[in-house]
């Protein structure tokens, strides 16, 4: 199954673009990338969800892991571009305010 993300590292900053469906089948690959991102202790991470069509609770868990991990190492994180079903899920879980969506 295609990995639904692209990662671009520029200095101490990372740009992560997630696309397609982030779900129980695809989230594990992203979670591995998230481990690498957090280990690098980036000063800033931008997570672009504008290409993300569908998410389930496993996908949400992966993004929560990214958010907590980056913040715990003192980095800043921006989650941008959430729309349609993923935005509805974040709102339902009341994460839209925490993520500042």
């Amino acid at each position: 199954m295609a990995t639904p993300y692209d990662i671009e590292n520029i200095g101490t900053e990372s740009n992560l673009k997630v696309r397609g469906s982030l779900d129980i089948n695809t989230a594990p690959a992203l979670a591995e990338e998230i481990d690498r991102i957090i280990a690098a202790k980036p000063t800033k991470v931008v997570c672009d969800l504008s290409g993300l069509d569908l998410i389930d609770s496993s996908g949400v868990a992966a993004l929560v892991k990214l958010y907590k991990g980056v913040r715990s190492t003192g980095g800043a994180i921006q989650i941008i571009g959430a729309r349609d079903q993923p935005l509805a899920i974040f709102k339902l879980l009341r994460m839209d305010k925490v993520f500042n969506l």
């Binding site: 397609g20 469906s21 779900d23 129980i24 089948n25 069509d53 569908l54 389930d56 609770s57 496993s58 949400v60 868990a61 929560v64 892991k65 958010y67 907590k68 913040r71 349609d84 079903q85 509805a88 899920i89 339902l92 879980l93 009341r94 994460m95 305010k97 925490v98």
Partner: protein
């Protein structure tokens, strides 16, 4: 939209109870939801397009994905060998999905609620699936078996009238 001349239509699908077959089931459920909502897929020729923008479709698909995950993980422990029987009833303004498995029963009452005050420190990393399903749908029931039976129901809201009926062109 008329469903078989006003009669509810039944769709039966049996898939192996592993996550490998999840997307097949999700696509069937998404199409069934569209029959009720009257929504049109953005690009029907794009088999990889996960298009569930319509509020009704979005709710049904989001909830179903969580319950399928639950069965594959908790009932069948991510192992091969079990089957999931899915029965979808498409009615004029309502969709009912029954999901049956022969795996281990799930403790629905044991699911912890989400934190009432959500902030950075209390962001959950699990236990969200049942909450999503229950919040998205009008009815989510579970009868432990064997077979275990999930019943999901979503009614089309009054203000969201399906294409082909009054109120929406």
């Amino acid at each position: 939209m008329a469903i078989l001349g006003g009669m509810a239509a039944s769709i039966q699908l049996t898939v192996p109870g592993t996550l490998r077959y999840r997307n097949i089931a999700v696509r069937v459920v998404a199409e069934a939801a569209r029959l009720v909502s009257g929504s049109v897929q953005r690009d029907p020729t794009d088999l990889l397009d996960h298009d569930v923008r319509d509020p009704f479709d979005l709710a049904v698909v989001s909830a179903f994905m969580e319950i399928f995950n639950n069965v594959a993980i908790h009932a069948y422990k991510r192992k091969d060998g079990g089957l999931i029987d899915i029965s979808i009833t498409v009615a004029e303004r309502e969709l009912t999905i029954e999901i049956k498995d022969h795996g281990q029963a799930f403790d629905l009452e044991g699911v912890a609620p989400l934190p009432t005050e959500l902030d950075e420190s209390t962001l959950p990393e699990g236990g969200m699936g049942i909450h999503i399903a229950k919040t998205m749908l009008d009815e989510v029931t579970y009868e432990p078996g064997p077979p275990n039976l999930w019943r999901l129901r979503k009614r089309l809201p009054a203000k969201q009238v399906a294409v082909g009926t009054s109120g929406r062109s």
